[in-house]
Symmetry: C2
Subunit: 349 residues, 2 copies
Amino acid sequence: MNTQVIYTKIPTGLPNPSETFEIKKVAFDPKNVVVPDGHLLVKTLFLSVDPYMRARMRKPEVQSYFPAAQVGKSFMGGAVVEVIRSGDSKFKDGQVLVTFSPWEEYVVIPAVSPMGNIVTIPNPRESKVPLSYYLGVLGMPGLTAYIGLHKFCEPLTPGQTLYVSAAAGAVGQVVGQYAKALGLRVVGSAGSDDKVAFLKEMGFDEAFNYKKHPDFVSILKQTCPKGIDIYFENVGGKMLEAVFEVANDFCRIAVCGMISQYNRTENPEGIHNMFQIISKRIKLSGFIVSDHAAECGSKCIPTFAKFLAEGKMRYRETIAVGIENTPKAFVDMLEGKNFGKAIVKVADL
Amino acid sequence: MNTQVIYTKIPTGLPNPSETFEIKKVAFDPKNVVVPDGHLLVKTLFLSVDPYMRARMRKPEVQSYFPAAQVGKSFMGGAVVEVIRSGDSKFKDGQVLVTFSPWEEYVVIPAVSPMGNIVTIPNPRESKVPLSYYLGVLGMPGLTAYIGLHKFCEPLTPGQTLYVSAAAGAVGQVVGQYAKALGLRVVGSAGSDDKVAFLKEMGFDEAFNYKKHPDFVSILKQTCPKGIDIYFENVGGKMLEAVFEVANDFCRIAVCGMISQYNRTENPEGIHNMFQIISKRIKLSGFIVSDHAAECGSKCIPTFAKFLAEGKMRYRETIAVGIENTPKAFVDMLEGKNFGKAIVKVADL
C-alpha cells in the first residue's frame, strides 16, 4: 500500500486536518512501477511542513509568487527522499535527495525540481546530523535566515539590536544564533514559556512570551532599551506596528513571513503607523529564499554545518511520525504548537 | 511695522488658518536692530509651505525626525531671504540666501541654519529662473525627487513603469519629468482635471484624477497595464494599498510623504495587504532629504538647472502674495488646492 495526503478543500481561516486533507491508501508495489526517462521513483523519508504552505491554499486565480495548490491532488512541499529507482543519469539508486515532492510514501517525481535545485546529501548513511536538518538549518529555513540577514539587513553592526519574532521557529532560531555569532545583541519572541527558556539557552540576550505581553510596544521597549536596529519579520500584524514604534532611525526590516495573518485571509490586520517608515527612514524588504538560493547556498550551508559540528549552533525540531499525521503536524505548526522546525518522519533510510 | 505669523495652537485634523495661526504686527525699524555676531538681519522674499510642516504641529513629547513646532513663536520653514545687515563674515549685505527661517517679514537669524547648509543664490538680480525656484525644483523638493529616484528606486531601467502620486505637486512634477528624461514610462495622479492636463503637457505617458477614480486598483491597472516597477509615494493610505496590488515583482517604493494621512493623526488608515511585500519582494524605503542633501545636492541642482535652461523641464508654482496669506496658502496646500509648488511671495528683491 502507498499512503497519500490529498489536499481536498480550500480552507477558510485555520485549516482543519480532516477537512482540508484526506488520507488515501492505494495499492502499490514498487516493483511494478514504470519509471519514465528523466524521472525517479523515490521513498519519502522526511516531509517539511512550513508556514508558506498556507498561502498556497487559495483560489487558483489569486496570483502570488507561488502557484496555488491543486485541489484533489497530493499536497507538495520540501522533502528528504531516497532514490529507489532512477530513470535519470544524474541520480543513482540509494542516493538521498532534498527536493520538492508530493506528500506520498512512494512517488515518481521528475528529476528536475520545479522549485530550484535538487540537493544530494553527501554520505547520508554516515551523516553526523539528522537528515531532517536538510529541511531546516541546512535547508530552506537556514538559507532564509542567512539571506534575510546578509542581503536585506546589512550593515550587521556588532552591538546593534536585532529583534526576531517567531524566534523559536524553523528560521528564527537560526537568525538569532547566527546574529549572536556576528556580535549583535539579539532579542526574540515566541509563544510559550518553554520556547522562551530555549531561546535564552541558545544565547539570546532577551526573550519574551508574546502571549503574556499583549502590549507589544511596552515589552519591546523593555527588552530593547536601545531600540531596534534590525527586525527579522516572521509574524506581521500588530507586532509589525509595534516594531515601527520601537525602531531606531535607519532600521532594516527583512520581511520573511507574516504567520499571524495567514489564517486571516478575509480580514487581515491593518498597519496604521506607516508614517514611521518616513520618520525613521525604515527600509522594509520583502524576500523569498528561492530568488537568492543559487547565490547564497554555497556560502550558507558550510557555515552552518561548521557551527553545528563545533557546537556553536543548535537546532530544535518537532518531529511527528507517520505520513498520516502530516495534516495535523501542519495545522499544529500554524497554531504555533511546534517547537523549532516542524518535520514529519515518514520512513527510516 | 514687521508682520509675523505666530503658531498659536496644535491643530486636530486639518489646521484652520485663523485658529492655528495669528498674524501679529509689531513696531519695527531695521535701523534700530542690533545684529549680534554670527547673525544676519534678513528681509524675507519668499516662504515655502510644505506638507511635512503639518507633521511638526504636534505635542512636543511625540518624537519624530523633525522637532515639533513651538506654540507661541513664529512658525518656521524654508525661505529665500535677502541679507539686510550681516553680522557674519561669511555673508555680505545684499546677498540672497535659501535657508530655514521664521515666518516674519524681517528677522534676525543665526548665520548657521539648523537644517543644513545655507545656500547662496548666485547672481540673484540676473537670475534666469524665478528666485522662488530655489524653494522648489532647485531646492528641497527637487533634491527630494533626485534622491528618492537615485538612492531608493534604482535600477531606473528605461521602459519600466514609474508611478508617482501627488504628481502635480512640488516634488511629483520633478519626479515625473526627470524619470521621463531617464527613459521610464511615467504615470501620475493628481486631484483635478486641470492638474491632469498639466501632467500630460509635461510629457507624462498617463495621468488620472484620483478624485474621479475612487477605485484606485482599477485605474492603476488601466494606466499601468504592465504593472508598477517603481512607486514614488507621496500620499499613503488607500493609494499605497492599491499600489501593492498593482506592483510588479521587485517593485521599489521610495516613501517620501503620506499627505493623505497628515490630517488623520487620530485615525490613520490601515494598510491591510502587507503580505504583498513578501509575495512581490517589494522594497519600501523611507527617506528624508536632509540625510542626503550634502551628498546629492552638487549633482542634482546643476542637472535640473540645465534641464530648465534647455526647456526640457518646466516647473509650476502657486504663488500667494503677502505674508499675511501664508496660513491660508499652507492649509490650501494641505487640501490640494495648490497647483505645483506652493509659495508665498513676501517682498520683491
